[in-house]
């Protein structure tokens, strides 16, 4: 698998979520993702970027184009140095939430992409990496 770094964007203010989303959408469409695949990836990105902004005080988003054999994909990584996730299984198992907590966002996002990897250390921060392949 080879990767090409296309964007590195800050997540500092709420508007940055929109910037990251738009970059992902443009890249996905440029590589032939159909509207449904693009919507799935952009929505997962939006979810996770908002998490980084609202729960972790901000972070960085990197967007890569990935190639493996004959297929191409877009990979988005959200890295923050926030408080980290204390109860990972609970966070990933989903369920609704009324307050501004992680709730459905993580598990929902996971269902929208092909690869989902989350590393989190309490007190240090969280890195989430998602990847969606373009269907051939």
């Amino acid at each position: 698998m080879t990767a090409r770094r296309c964007h590195q964007l800050p997540i500092a203010v709420e508007d940055d979520i929109i910037v990251v989303r738009r970059a992902v959408r443009t890249l996905a469409e440029a590589h032939g993702f159909d509207t449904f695949a693009s919507a799935a990836l952009v929505t997962a990105t939006s979810e996770l970027t908002r998490n980084a902004w609202s729960h972790a005080g901000g972070g960085v988003a990197t967007i890569d184009v990935v190639e493996e054999g004959n297929r191409v994909g877009v990979r988005v990584t959200l890295k923050d140095s926030g408080p980290g996730i204390a109860d990972l299984p609970a966070a990933l198992s989903g369920g609704f939430s009324t307050a501004r907590s992680l709730g459905l966002g993580l598990s929902g996002s996971r269902r929208l992409v092909d690869q989902f990897d989350l590393q989190s250390t309490v007190g240090q921060g969280t890195t989430v990496e998602i990847l969606k392949w373009k269907m051939l």
């Binding site: 080879t2 090409r4 159909d34 449904f36 190639e67 004959n70 269907m135 051939l136």
Partner: protein
């Protein structure tokens, strides 16, 4: 990273080339040796090319690719140039791209791998003879060894080129097949019908949902009948996909009617505990159509008076 080569689909950067060369044990010494044999190659090039085309023109299968003298002359010229490039003493990106281009051109006109390999066999055979005729035995052995390495290197690229072209064709066919497999039909104003036939794997299920939703928007449909009589196996996954599709259809303000449910499928759904209360379910497609009409405020009723239309005169 260099751009993806459009012929093979490979990443053709120096790293890739180096690793392939390495695997063929094709060293700089080999290339230098081949370069030093350029004179010998040029001396015999015409004869080698002639005999190659004698072979091709004498066989029915390959003859048809060379319909006239002008084509043959042109192709021989290109082939000569291609042959002599084996003795250029280089094996870089440009060399590789030239090789692939020729392969791609031949693939496109229908001359497949067998021809490609057959040509190289000819080269090896002819050059083997000339090497041993004109060089000392140990030199000839070394020359032939170097030549073989380069030929195998070329052939490995050619194989990739052919495989890529093939899989590309398969991909396009699969895409066309997928489109055909989700025929969403407008049976009446605002009523869609999707007869699902065959197995539904997760990729197809995804495509079904996407197509259904697009058609609902396109036709401003108020309801869609999905008939599953032609789906051989209805397991948890299939049931789950149907539930999801119904939920998505609802978000577009429409209703789903599921028909073609056999007794067997009904038992499976109940046994699996899948909640299908969000959709209308019926056994017969006919009943589904009548329900759909009711939902849009219509009904089928018998005509008054001299009912039937007379059949058309042929």
């Amino acid at each position: 990273m260099s751009p993806r080569n459009s012929t093979t689909g490979l990443e053709l950067d120096d790293t890739t080339i180096r690793s392939r060369r390495d695997y063929c044990e094709l060293t700089d010494d080999d290339l230098v040796r081949l370069r030093s044999l350029r004179g010998l190659a040029e001396n015999h090039a015409d004869r080698i090319i002639e005999s190659l085309y004698e072979l091709m023109l004498s066989r029915e299968h390959t003859r048809k690719f060379f319909p006239d003298e002008a084509t043959i002359a042109r192709v021989k010229r290109l082939q000569r140039k291609y042959f002599l490039e084996l003795f250029d003493g280089r094996c870089d990106l440009e060399y590789v791209e030239n090789r692939l281009l020729v392969g791609a051109v031949h693939e496109r006109i229908g001359l497949g791998p067998a021809w490609y390999l057959g040509t190289y066999r000819r080269y090896l055979d002819s050059l083997h003879q000339y090497f041993y005729a004109e060089l000392a035995a140990d030199e000839a052995a070394a020359a032939f060894a170097s030549l073989q390495k380069l030929v195998w290197f070329d052939v490995s690229l050619a194989m990739d080129a052919y495989i890529f072209a093939n899989s590309d064709a398969i991909r396009r066919h699969q895409a066309a097949l997928r489109e055909l497999s989700t025929p969403v039909i407008l049976v009446h104003d605002r009523i869609l019908l999707l007869p699902l036939v065959g197995t539904i794997d997760s990729q197809r299920a995804q495509q079904v949902m996407d197509t259904v939703l697009l058609r609902i928007v396109e036709e401003k449909a108020r309801c869609i009948i999905i008939d599953i009589a032609g789906v051989p196996v209805v397991d948890t996954n299939v049931a789950d996909h149907l539930v999801k599709t119904t939920a998505a259809v609802r978000l577009l303000g429409a209703q789903t009617i599921l028909t073609g449910i056999s007794a067997q499928v009904a038992r499976t759904i109940v046994h699996l505990g899948v909640d299908i209360t969000t959709m209308h379910t019926l056994s017969r497609l006919q009943d589904g159509i009548e329900l759909a009409l009711r939902l849009v405020g219509k009904a089928i009723r018998p005509r008054k008076g001299s009912a039937r239309l007379a059949p058309r005169e042929s």
